[in-house]
């Protein structure tokens, strides 16, 4: 097709081994764009919200967007969509690298995996040749090893997405790793893949993606790329320091949670785990995803000492979760734990935050050395790395940590010590010091998450304009726009980081010319709102708990820093947020709203 889409998807039934090539549902593509949006639409139309996330009724949908694999900047993205075993919400995890574009070059917008295979398999795609192949010899192997083995078996020019033993063994926050280091990380999409006995997807394609109005598309791209180049963040900052550059500034506003948030959010040694330090001491070189002019990824190495290791990352969130959140200022240990997460394909945000929660349980005596196998004090770098490795490998206490902090803390009688929303751990910003991000955590459709509506942009970074992190005014309306725009961006197939330098005008412009639409910017943004409401409707049908925050954020005041004495004012913001969304006061999309958005 000549409209950004390939026009075809693969439907794989893992139980009976059937492979079907079917036309893309054009009407749904036009309504839900692609990737996160279209993947969710396919999922919701075919799966029961009450399904067991690790059972046969939970489809796993891999979906690209209309801009994926085009010349649009940072267009290497795809989404994995399924019901999340961690949260019970819709799970949609986004990843970059080169896998998504390659799937389109092979001739498919997406893949729907149904049911469960009897024995381990991987999906082989070489343009039109599609096969389910035996993966018994790969079962149990880690991400790097599996990827290498598949390069050898299929060809080094294949792109591989896979899981490790963590996904196979049901670590509830196992992700899907592609191109070795890129992760569809959050919400346990790797555990869903493992439950299906699907070890990997290896793909190679020789086609290309055609757009509807090539000349106008080209002009939009030039404009978007110029804007990205001209912006200090997307033009220079992100590539120079990576995302870890945030450590000092978030700590600067007193918003970097320390020791599971139990000791406020000012970390005295933040500079030791900062982007500045990582760049000065450990950076080998930058790495970027498909077609990305930003190139925020980094190849890093710890050259000596107990944590000698080499790999990609860490990103800011992992820098915090293994660092300040565990009271650790040893960047070598932080990198080492993060590398383990890549090697074993698990979400480093949930991993680090779960270790931090275990450290607090240990501190109050709810768990002991006998439970863990060794002392687990805040600040003990070696213990943190060991706990991470045990979880990756499913050993001892690692089996309990593999359930995430909520289930672990609940088991030991202290669910309130899990810093999670809807059982997914909140990332690296304290909602007591930065009010709007607290509202985002509470309302995110996949549980504690920052990248559904990144309020840190206005509240800390001043992009597109500065908002005071300590106040609640105008945050609900702003968050709604951010969430809708993010859904649109994710669905289009480009990286969310572009939105530091470009906005609705550019994204809608590229989308319009790629798909050949004449819709206005506002009509295109409405697709983001449609996606958001569809996700929310699924969550309500699945019986997901109400939007709230851990009691610590609502009741325990911050002990120091610029936000001293504050809690998150969630209930001041929530009613206004629901009103801005046109939902009931209990946060339920009304029939009118769903009808207005054309959600059936």
């Amino acid at each position: 097709m000549n409209n950004g889409y390939i026009g075809r998807i693969l439907r794989i039934n893992l139980k009976n081994g059937t492979i079907r090539k079917e036309p893309l549902n054009d009407a749904n593509a036009s309504q839900y764009v692609g990737a996160r949006g279209l993947g969710t639409k396919y999922f919701c139309d075919e799966c029961d919200p009450a399904c067991d996330p690790l059972g046969p009724g939970n489809n796993l949908v891999i979906m690209t967007g209309p801009l994926t694999g085009t010349a649009a900047p940072s267009s290497g993205r795809y989404n994995a969509v399924a019901k999340s075993p961690l949260t019970g919400t819709i799970g949609a995890a986004n990843s970059g690298g080169h896998f998504g574009p390659e799937l389109k070059f092979a001739g498919y917008d997406g893949i729907i995996f149904e049911d469960i295979s009897e024995k381990p398999v991987y999906l082989y795609i070489n343009d039109d040749e599609v096969e389910l192949r035996d993966a018994s010899h790969l079962w149990g192997r880690d991400v790097f090893d599996t990827t290498e083995a598949l390069y050898e078996e299929c060809g080094s020019n294949f792109r591989v997405a896979c899981i490790s033993a963590a996904g196979e063994n049901g670590v509830l926050f196992a992700g899907i790793m592609n191109d070795k280091h890129r992760a569809a990380g959050r919400g346990g999409m790797g555990a869903v893949m493992g439950s299906k006995k699907l070890k990997a997807i290896a793909v190679k394609g020789t086609g290309s993606v055609k757009v509807a109005r090539p000349e106008a598309f080209f002009n939009e791209i030039v404009e978007a790329r110029d804007s990205l180049r001209a912006h200090p963040v997307t033009g220079a900052g992100l590539s120079a320091y990576g995302t870890m550059i945030l450590v000092n500034i978030v700590n600067g506003v007193g918003g970097l949670p320390v020791n599971n948030g139990s000791e406020g959010s000012l970390f005295p040694n933040a500079d030791e785990i900062s982007g500045e330090t990582l760049t000065a001491r450990h950076l080998i070189r930058n790495k970027g995803c498909f077609g990305c002019p930003i190139g925020c990824g980094r190849l890093t190495e710890i050259k000596a000492g107990a944590f000698k290791s080499k790999g990609e990352g860490p990103e800011y969130e992992a820098g915090w979760s293994f660092g300040a959140d565990c009271g650790i200022d040893d960047l070598g240990a932080v990198c080492n734990a993060n590398f383990l997460c890549n090697q074993y394909g698990i979400d480093p945000i949930t991993m680090g935050a779960t270790v931090a929660c275990a450290m607090e349980l240990y501190k109050i005596g709810a768990i002991t050395e006998e439970d863990v196998g060794f002392p687990l004090h805040f600040g003990d770098a070696a213990a943190m790395v060991r706990a991470t490795e045990m979880t990756c490998k499913g050993e001892g206490f690692g089996k309990i940590m593999g359930l995430g902090s909520y289930r672990m803390a609940e088991k030991y009688g202290h669910p309130e010590l899990s810093m999670s929303v809807k059982k997914q751990e909140m990332p690296a910003y304290d909602g007591r010091a930065i009010q709007g991000i607290g509202l985002e955590y509470a309302t995110s459709n996949r549980g504690g998450c920052h990248v559904r509506g990144y309020m840190i942009s206005p509240e800390v970074l001043g992009i597109p304009q500065a908002m005071d992190p300590l106040t609640t005014e105008n945050k609900p309306a702003m968050l709604k726009v951010f969430q809708d725009l993010t859904a649109l961006c994710d669905a289009s197939g480009i990286c969310l980081f572009t939105t530091f330098g470009i906005g609705l005008k550019e994204i809608a412009g590229m989308y319009r010319e790629a798909v050949g639409s004449d819709e206005s910017d506002e009509e295109i943004l409405l697709k983001g709102e449609r996606i958001w409401n569809l996700e929310k409707r699924f969550n309500i049908a699945a019986g997901v708990e109400k939007d709230t925050l851990p009691p610590r954020l609502l009741r325990e005041t911050l002990p120091s820093g610029p936000a001293k004495g504050r809690v998150n004012e969630l209930y001041t913001m929530l009613a206004e947020y629901y009103a801005a969304r046109g939902w009931t006061k209990d946060g339920i999309p009304t029939d009118n709203k769903l009808e207005e958005l054309g959600i059936k």
């Binding site: 963040v233 945030l246 500034i249 970074l461 530091f500």
Partner: protein, 93 residues
């Protein structure tokens, strides 16, 4: 007072420093003048906007963790005990 520099403001061509102390100037504007004259270009192009009415587009100026935009802007009064943090506009996530 203490002044801390971050990201590329630490590079030799900007300030070459992570941290410095000085006697507190009267206001943030006075602090900007002192730093711009001490470090010269390119740092001097960062601190103020073109009309010297607000911080420049590429800098975040915080006093004790609060952006000056939410205090009294460049007229914010400074005290000896203050910690000033200067960040170029950065992002991540």
């Amino acid at each position: 007072m203490t002044i801390r520099f971050f990201a590329y403001y630490r590079d030799p061509e900007y300030t070459g420093r992570k941290e410095m102390t000085m006697a507190a100037p009267h206001t943030v504007r006075d602090l900007g003048d002192a730093l711009c004259s001490q470090f010269g270009s390119p740092f001097a192009e960062e601190f103020f906007n073109s009309g010297r009415t607000a911080p420049g587009d590429r800098i975040i100026i915080m006093i004790n963790g609060r952006r000056v935009e939410f205090l009294d802007g460049l007229d914010t009064l400074l005290r000896e005990s203050d910690v000033v943090q200067l960040f170029p506009v950065v992002a991540g996530g």
